[in-house]
Symmetry: D3
Subunit: 154 residues, 6 copies
């Protein structure tokens, strides 16, 4: 883990990074139920889910989202902080044994409304695909980022 | 945990439910780092964070979001499924020992674009406050919900 | 999770509630060994258990008991507290992948010996069955419960 | 961990063993909530419990019971198996930071009703005390044990 | 767990103890990744490892080492403490579902350089084999041990 | 996490990297006890350790070693694999709340005995210091590494 200063100006639209893969295990689901308190049978009951359209237990949406966001944590950047997420969409279910890979692409940069000289938002689109190449989750991660120009003088 | 059928028509704008409290512990943060692989010093290094503006370790955003969403999991509703989240915003940091409470309010109902006769989206605004009453996180949880009328005849 | 005041008088003999199902996983066993320190090969050694009459690893008794009791935790009742358990009996082993369902029935109400006017015990029989309908565990959960009549005047 | 054959006849009324100590931590409570799904505020909400008579979070009864039973797991005895528990009683609450020690004493031996020649029950009273010497939990652990005499000839 | 005083003089070259078995599970690997932050695809990505020479996920070296050393923790000896390890060698990979057994043999005793009258090192060779009898890990565990003679007079 | 091919020839004696910090928590110790089965009172009993020279609970040696090695996991290098550790030495205890930082330095390169043309060992000295700058653990991590020259032609 390295610490690298990157300012708003340093992010380029279209720049992309891709993670290695990670297999989502039964353990991950049990641990996530334990962390969140969500023991819905959709995630925890192999017998009942076998009678449902999907046919098996499904990972929690917040599990896949949390793991995917974690897989995009690369360098530490003191000039940006996580501000929120937009349009988180669960496209397909993730099953036990599926392997996900995450791609993150800078798609937009916008100014901070009240402090446009010193702050802006970097929009990073996070796409999660499974081992067959199907997209299972997309979201836009917003970073509140310092601008280089005026930060330097303040 | 009870199973209760609620259709799109059954949700009323303004209906609200509030959770009991849950204290966010050091354990939660360590477990969430372990689940996501995000060991950023913001969450894991008490010495370094003591030198930073916030002065102490901060819970992961995805931890608070996952726990808060889990705290809203009440009855099982076979007529609705989690579709995604909009405008997830981290308003204030959550520290070790903070106790969060979650309020969920139905704020909007919209038709499904392609299948407006049978499906709609229920928008539930989730607000997370800490023990001093300050809001730390807000998000809108979207449920894709069956409509009663036409479901009944299909 | 709701908070509902129920007094001793409010419980009726024969009232029954049944949980959804939960699959007992290898993860549950590993976590329970880790929590209790019980790493007996009956729970942890797939090779050795394959040579034994049961033929495979068996869940800890305290795991099934803890999960089953947890599955009966419904509303929060400020007028009652867990007092203990009677006649906990392990009827059949639970294996990895078995799915358990829990039924709880009020079977008896008895007065508190020293304070019969204000306190009583509610006896709830907890029965755990697996996916084939076989009972694997029974126990009687005792709640020490406030009585309504005199509580109101005290 | 050693494997030692001990038959019904080998257990003597009054024989006693005492564990080392173990401190019950906030981590244990969070993990037990996660394993059982019991997130009652009595265990998880430091703010609310501060307003209650006990003044702080309380360990789950099944946590203390599971840990205590685990602390009595010594030698592996192929001639006995855990049959159940009688009269489990929660005497005092266990708080975060309390250190428990467990004493187990053989208090009774009874014949198996249907197969008295070959099987019997060994009753072991398990007592859990905290760091101030107060008893917090008692229970009787029943082992179904082979008898030496007839086992040898069968 | 018993407390037994054993001094340097009490250890004999060649004395050996062997553990029961323990199956290494997917859960163990996921938990170890979570504890250490090592999410390398060698341990976590079933798809990618299927394309590699070993063909499947491999347990972390530090997982097997930690578990194996833990499996040798028997009696508590107030007269010795863990000083370090020499020549830790990973001979073969451990896969999910492998069952390991640990043998520990006292192989050498050496004096402490500066305090040879009162202290010495007990060298214990730890060998880990899998279910097919193949050695997967060896290491030498060094204990710094009090000598009986002069300890008694000091 | 990036994948970068580095051959034996690419490592330079003296090259050094330093991690960010990580605070060792009570949670880490409880989880490590749970993973390894080592519940020695040195790690788990706050009351007893308060009467001992160190005065408080001590992290397991294998915990600090596992975390430290994990903290050195940077880029994925397909040309090298972990071969073992030499001279692991626990210099000082690590207590709950201590924050460790890890430095790794390439200190030596040696040929493989039987295949010196294609393989060699890269020796990396790992040093772990706490928040006061005291060294708590040192070890030498050995990597078995492909050599570039002949690999290219094979």
């Amino acid at each position: 883990m390295n610490t690298v200063d990157r300012y708003f100006e340093d992010y380029e639209i279209g720049e992309t990074r891709t993670s290695v893969g990670r297999t989502i295990t039964e353990t991950d689901i049990v641990l996530h139920a334990g962390q969140t308190g969500d023991f819905f049978p959709h995630h925890m009951d192999a017998e009942w889910t076998a009678t449902q359209p999907f046919g098996q237990r499904i990972a929690h949406g917040t599990l896949i989202m949390s793991v995917a966001v974690g897989m995009t944590a690369g360098d530490i950047n003191p000039q940006a902080m996580s501000y929120g997420y937009d349009r988180v969409r669960f496209i397909r279910p993730v099953f036990i044994g599926d392997t996900i890979t995450v791609t993150a692409e800078i798609t937009e940069k916008t100014d901070h409304t009240k402090r446009p000289d010193t702050l802006g938002y970097v929009h990073e689109k996070v796409s999660v695909v499974n081992q067959t190449g199907d997209t299972v989750l997309v979201l836009t991660h917003l970073y509140l980022s310092n601008k280089r120009a005026l930060s330097a003088t303040s």
